[in-house]
């Protein structure tokens, strides 16, 4: 449950037993070939795994590097969130829970949770900040169409941070029949490592695909965007024992790993954006999924170890990268994923990525959800 000095289970006493039960159930399930088989089958027949590794040929030529995209945008519901959610929903079923609780920002994790709940015949209650509900009205309706209850959160900044707090509060009163399905590698132990394990399918697949497709076998660089950091954690997990350099790309206004300081929020010890009084500050990013003031504890630890590097890009760089990928490769990326690409573009330009480098980048989600943002800003 610890990643160096980070992680832990800083949960209210009322949730400690529930976390312990999740931990125990997950350990058992993860060691059970039956559970692994059921999950692998759901991921294959329902979510569309394995996802392809796409060589970005035209962009590679332009950048002077060899760029490969791990296509999580092609999964059912359109982002890597489904990997984690199917795992947790199956776990919840195994634990006899009949309802999933989730927080959501842009709505992607909420839609994924509503989807998994419908598939397995569970109920779903999704907490979402009132401001995000206004900004992401269509995802709200997708969730409702899938049968989920969407609860508006009217406290604090009325965004993801507050939705997470409210989901935790709600779970305190519902541990008996409900599973809290956290959407990223954050929260109290076992969530950060459990979610990473559910997401490592990204890295494991990519590792095998790179071995088959790349002349170097292993890419020189492995790049992913980091909000809470689940797609990056899952991707990095597949390359932890290789020579690949790991790069996590944060939004300038939500750079928990690059600019946060030690703290405790939402059940775990990690790096968080804070003011001089120790109050958590609101993150600001054009990408709703990066709009979180902290980072998962494993990323904080990887940073301290120097095993991964965390860099930031601006809203404008991300927008530019999204357009470039659309025009060069016919893929409109999620604004979150566009951050990872923006760094690749910048690094290829300034020599940070030497010419001829092989780069694996996780394209964590599709940009359909962001089209109205593109429309407004481009």
């Amino acid at each position: 449950g610890r990643f160096g000095e980070y992680g832990g289970r800083y949960a209210p006493e009322s949730l400690v037993e529930a976390c312990r039960q999740v931990d125990e159930a997950f350990r058992e399930a993860w060691a059970d070939p039956g559970f692994r088989g059921d999950l692998a089958r759901l991921l294959a027949v329902h979510a569309g795994r394995p996802t392809p590794l796409t060589p970005a040929r035209r962009l590679s030529d332009a950048l002077g590097v060899e760029l490969y995209l791990k296509r999580e945008d092609l999964t059912h519901t359109g982002s890597h969130k489904i990997n984690n959610v199917l795992g947790q929903a199956l776990l919840a079923t195994r634990m006899g829970r009949r309802r999933l609780i989730a927080e959501t920002g842009a709505g992607q994790h909420g839609v994924a949770t509503a989807t998994a709940a419908a598939l397995l015949g569970l109920e779903a209650t999704v907490f979402m900040g009132e401001r995000d509900i206004e900004r992401q009205a269509l995802n709200v309706f997708r969730m409702r169409m899938l049968g989920a209850e969407v609860v508006p959160v009217t406290t604090g900044s009325r965004t993801l941070k507050d939705a997470t707090s409210e989901a935790m509060r709600h779970w305190v009163g519902a541990t008996g029949d409900s599973h809290y399905c956290i959407g990223s590698v954050v929260g109290p132990d076992p969530y950060p490592w459990m979610v990473r394990e559910f997401q490592r399918v990204i890295g494991d697949e990519a590792r095998a695909q790179c071995a088959a497709e790349l002349r170097t076998g292993v890419p020189d660089h492995v790049v992913a965007c980091v909000g809470g950091g689940s797609n990056a954690a899952g991707t990095f997990a597949g390359f932890a024992d290789t020579s690949a350099r790991l790069v996590g790309v944060e939004a300038e206004g939500g750079a928990g790993a690059a600019r946060g300081r030690l703290g405790v929020l939402h059940g775990c010890r990690s790096l968080f954006l804070q003011d001089d009084d120790g109050q958590i500050t609101q993150a600001h990013s054009i990408a709703a999924g990066l709009d979180y003031p902290g980072v998962g504890p494993e990323h904080a630890h990887l940073r301290d170890l120097g095993r991964a590097r965390y860099v930031t890009v601006s809203d404008d760089e991300a927008l530019g990268a999204a357009v470039r990928l659309a025009r060069a490769e016919g893929i409109v990326p999620a604004l979150e994923s566009a951050h990872a690409l923006a760094w690749v573009i910048r690094a290829a330009g300034d020599g940070d990525l030497p010419a001829g480098s092989t780069v694996l980048m996780t394209l964590s989600g599709r940009g359909d959800k962001d089209v109205s943002t593109f429309k407004e800003l481009l």
């Binding site: 289970r9 949960a11 006493e13 037993e17 941070k161 305190v172 405790v264 059940g267 009084d277 120790g278």
Partner: protein, 271 residues
């Protein structure tokens, strides 16, 4: 079970002494910095018969608090409240005759580090500390530091806590054991949760340290009922709702007096 009396600090000694008189214990709560003259609530609480006073340091993300205390925290932060300012306000107060216990989330403790934080509490005349998101298994970093600084770190127990863990919590808690009456957040409730009696009984099996019941106790009837099994009650949201509605120190004194009276009536009944 060790004899906790021997190691008891100021808060615990005070509460044990009051309990020994047969008195039901009352710990009202106020969010620090909620109004310009917020410290005036403290003597009023004492005058109403409080046995200890809990002062909340507002945090941006109070994950265990219900709507009332969230709202109070937001209001205080909006007024510019901070740990530094609230402790500074407290250090200017005359002796109230009852111990002060500060409550806040762990992020604020970590901000300057446990040692600096506890030292600051001590300087402000605070005797106890409650950190709702610091469960016993994560508390090592704070317990010794608090003890060394003379701050009694109060641990919370919940209806979901298994019995062996309750023993650990009760053993390591200082000042008193904070029994969370129900599976939920802070906030007023229509009636006392059934889980509270069972929890208190389970705590009593493993400690003779004072047990205060909190979360959802907001009326004299509830206080009276709580007193039947616990040593006393913590009253937070019921106080803060009144404060948010504009009630001043005198109003709160009157309200707390009704709770005091209820606890005193109940204390005469056989237990």
């Amino acid at each position: 079970m060790t004899n906790p009396t021997l190691a008891a600090g100021t808060v615990e000694r005070h509460l044990r002494a009051r309990r020994a008189t047969g008195r039901g214990l009352l710990m009202p709560y106020v969010t620090g910095g909620i109004t310009p003259g917020w410290t005036d609530y403290l003597p009023a609480f004492a005058a109403a018969g409080a046995d200890a006073i809990e002062v909340g340091l507002p945090f941006s993300d109070p994950t265990l608090d219900g709507a009332t205390i969230q709202q109070a925290g937001e209001a205080a932060l909006a007024r510019g409240a901070s740990t530094r300012r609230i402790l500074s306000d407290l250090s200017g107060l005359p002796d109230l005759g009852v111990p002060l216990v500060v409550s806040t989330y762990y992020n604020l403790v970590l901000h300057d580090g446990p040692e600096a934080f506890c030292a600051a509490l001590r300087r402000a005349g605070v005797g106890g500390l409650i950190v709702p998101d610091l469960p016993v298994h994560e508390a090592d970093e704070l317990t010794d530091v608090a003890e060394a600084a003379g701050i009694e770190l109060v641990l919370l127990a919940s209806p979901a806590t298994p019995q062996p863990r309750l023993a650990e919590i009760s053993g390591r808690s200082r000042g008193f054991v904070y029994a969370v009456s129900l599976m939920g957040t802070t906030g007023e409730r229509a009636s006392l949760a059934a889980s509270s009696a069972e929890l208190t009984e389970r705590i009593r099996r493993v400690t003779d340290r004072p047990v205060l019941l909190g979360f959802g106790i907001s009326t004299p009837d509830q206080a009276r009922e709580a007193r039947r099994h616990a040593d006393g009650v913590v009253v937070g949201a019921a106080v803060m709702r009144r404060v948010l509605d504009g009630a001043g120190p005198d109003d709160l004194r009157a309200f707390l007096a009704t709770l005091r009276q209820a606890l005193d009536q109940e204390c005469d009944r056989p237990r």
